[in-house]
Symmetry: C2
Subunit: 477 residues, 2 copies
């Protein structure tokens, strides 16, 4: 068991707070190759729960899991020009094996549209073969210059869905359906509120006709793209020659989509809920939901028996637990539970035994409750539920409070520099977005589906052109 | 839905039979890069079931899942010389990113002992930190010259366990414990009998003190290594400086193990149970346990209602099903179910409705049974159980019948050329094993823990030296 180090307070330095809590919370270690991380049991446990939960939702809408190779032959990736250009600077390239140069280079997949394109071509011949709704849970590599654990690492884990349809409208609907599944999951399990919308032309995926996104707000006010869903139209079917015979026996190109979420959701979870004592994991996704701390058990062996009996009771109703029966002091054990983000802890000492009660401590509010041993099961269930809801509503309140309406560049700059998201009318193009980023550090996050605020103006804050298009800008991870 | 092609009979050409059934059974497609395969939904579903089942067993003995990076810096892999030499010719090497040469090369992991070594070094300081029992489910790459789908592919999926202990005996026990978990799983779920034992010095893992293995026999008589568990001793702790303070406050090197199974188990399953109609998937690992075929449903819509009601009944007791309500003929539907290896199928036609019965067809024996609709649930449950046991006992009988005792080189050659495994006394070394392989094509599979046959001699078949060491040799995948 590691010594607990001091955590930098969030308000002093949010970036240092982040690296302090993920290391103290035993979430990760730095990998041997630069920009890579090791997922330790706690963070991998969260990812495993994300995978298991989301995979069930996918299967309900007919998604089938497959697994495609890691390496993309050079010639294959070059088939879709925008796509190649978008990813080229970040491509890790295999050029030799056992010291001998290969005749063709291979890229480690940064994403797999081209591999799926090549696969789909051979799988599809008639409208009867469609739709194909495939997904894979894999690792991908993008050689990023600046990295940040979980949020932006050279290698990350994700799921990438890839589909083909005989009908463009059906494909568009699926793009939206998958985004809704992401939104519901991120809301309900990770307790993270998001704003859903469409990316601007400038921010869309390299190779997509359009990209939908869910955007989350971290505690420092920065935005984090939490999941995306892309309508690819014919962009991959044409270069990969993915055609099908329609009902009139005529050849048509199929319509594609792709969509993904990644291990950066773990970073999002930490920066949405964590506090100065460490991380806080929402109960519905926590690998351990309740820590059971034995206090002064060396003086009273019955403490251990009660801990075991409570563990059994809770496990029976599907609540996961971990007993701390180490010889550390009470204060250490409490801090240790807090720093690992376990949503609820139970403390059992010799005095509690006599009174047939235990102490419950919530991780989110730090409130303490004495509870009769007989009521433990029901109280824990209710409290876990309450913690889940409380984490969500706190984050939602913060999101709404931190969203500022602006209508000129000065107000825009001021709001962004104060850590706000801005919502504004915007009629600009990609070049304008690049200028805005240079001036303010903010990028466009999305054109929201539903306006969270009714705007008081209809002129572009940047060009003054009349426009009803409403865009959210923020600094982002 | 694809047209079904003719399958080459097993006895005509086993290798062609294998590629015929895996392609007809929609298990895989060839990937864009040479030597790689795409896991289609059926084979990935089997792998997912393997992962979920085995992961539960791992957790029962305290295994924790982690995830380490894909890339190994050149300098790191070079730290253990035998290990590097063993893998060097097969290492895919990343030398550039976005067209620019890197200052250090990276290898794509062929296995992760070195990465874990580097990780463990920083995690361990005292005996209190031990044991560490970690595992990861990941992809690895070995640039094989000759490949065969599932059995030997350049990229494959596997789990690799890596542990460190304060005590060598404890580490050795764990090595054995994990092999037992593999054996039980392969027996009980994949219905594959195995012989467990130790690898010879020549065949052990590059970097291990000794390697335990389970060896399975395919229908063509060849052996397949189905799982291995290695005792690493100090081989990685010394070069990686993995030390701990013992109870006397003195520094000691920790003791390591590693163990793994891979997607080649899917190949093993196919070549153990498949027949001339296609693959046969054991019920306990099958993604779909029962196909429900609607026959002539266009003439009698009630057929579909009965199919739905039976599906519901079976799903309720945890039996997975798939309904075929396509407009194909009865013969096509039956072949289609057989070729995909579904262990049991139910056929429902208009005549059955009138008699309140359905037809059950076992995939393993092809036996047909009329069953009253009221008895479907119980009969299906029993029959799935029976199929599982029957597949195992057929394979076990074959294994025992095909194991031949020999005591001289001529008999050895003859037995191997006839497709047998041989069991014999052997006192030779690695050079002898290389010669034997050149002469006969057979390699040593293991020194069995328990002799399946009591040997009649105690002289080495190759050197005539007196020895009690008993070794199994066979041609192998």
């Amino acid at each position: 068991m590691k010594k607990l180090e001091k955590i930098t307070p969030q308000n002093d330095d949010f970036a240092r707070w982040y690296t302090d809590v993920i290391q103290n919370g035993d979430l990760m270690a730095y990998g041997a190759s630069k920009g890579s991380i090791i997922f330790k049991p706690l963070s991998f446990g969260i990812w495993d729960n994300i995978r298991l939960t989301l995979d069930k939702e996918f299967k309900k809408v007919g998604v089938q899991n497959v697994n495609l190779p890691l390496l993309i032959p050079e010639s294959l990736l070059a088939k879709e020009k925008d796509h190649l250009e978008g990813f080229n600077p970040e491509l890790a390239t295999v050029t030799e094996v056992g010291g001998k140069k290969l005749s063709e280079k291979y890229y480690i997949r940064p994403t797999s549209e081209t591999l799926f394109g090549d696969f789909f071509k051979n799988e599809i011949s008639s409208y009867n073969d469609l739709p194909l709704i495939y997904n894979q849970w894999v690792n991908v590599l993008r050689w990023e210059k600046t990295t940040n654990p979980f949020l932006r690492t050279r290698e990350f884990l994700w799921q990438e869905g890839h589909t083909m349809h005989s009908d463009g409208e059906e494909a568009k609907e699926l793009t939206l359906k998958m985004l809704k599944i992401y939104k519901k999951f991120v809301n309900d399990y990770l307790a993270i509120p998001v704003i859903d919308g469409e990316k601007t032309e400038h921010e869309k995926f390299s190779g997509a006709d359009f990209t939908f996104t869910i955007e989350a707000m971290m505690k420092d006010g920065k935005a984090l793209q939490a999941g995306t869903s892309h309508y690819l139209g014919h962009n991959f079917s044409v270069p990969f020659d993915i055609t099908f015979k329609n009902k009139d026996n005529k050849l048509e190109y199929a319509y594609g989509t792709s969509w993904g979420i990644s291990t950066r959701l773990i970073g999002a979870l930490i920066m949405t809920h964590g506090d100065d004592r460490g991380i806080i994991i929402p109960p519905k996704i926590a690998p351990t939901q309740v820590d059971i701390l034995e206090l002064f058990a060396n003086k009273e062996p019955k403490v251990h028996n009660l801990a075991l009996s409570i563990e059994k009771t809770l496990n029976k109703v599907g609540i996961s637990t971990k007993i701390d029966d180490s010889d550390k002091g009470a204060g250490f054990k409490a801090s240790n539970s807090e720093i690992h983000g376990t949503p609820l802890r139970i403390e059992i000492g010799p005095r509690d035994l006599a009174e047939n009660r235990i102490l419950l401590v919530r991780r989110d509010t730090l409130e303490k409750f004495h509870v009769s041993v007989d009521d433990v099961k029901e109280t824990v269930k209710e409290m876990l539920n309450d913690i889940q809801l409380n984490l969500y509503s706190q984050a939602e309140q913060r999101l709404l409070n931190n969203l500022v309406e602006v209508h000129n560049l000065d107000d825009f700059k001021k709001a962004i520099s104060e850590g706000h998201w801005v919502i504004t009318n915007f009629a600009g193009n990609g070049e304008d977005e690049i200028k805005i980023k240079e001036l303010t550090g903010a990028s466009s996050r999305c054109i929201p589906f539903k306006l969270p605020i009714k705007l008081k103006d209809d002129k572009c804050f940047f060009s003054n052109k009349k426009t009803k298009k409403c865009v959210i800008f923020a600094k982002a991870y």
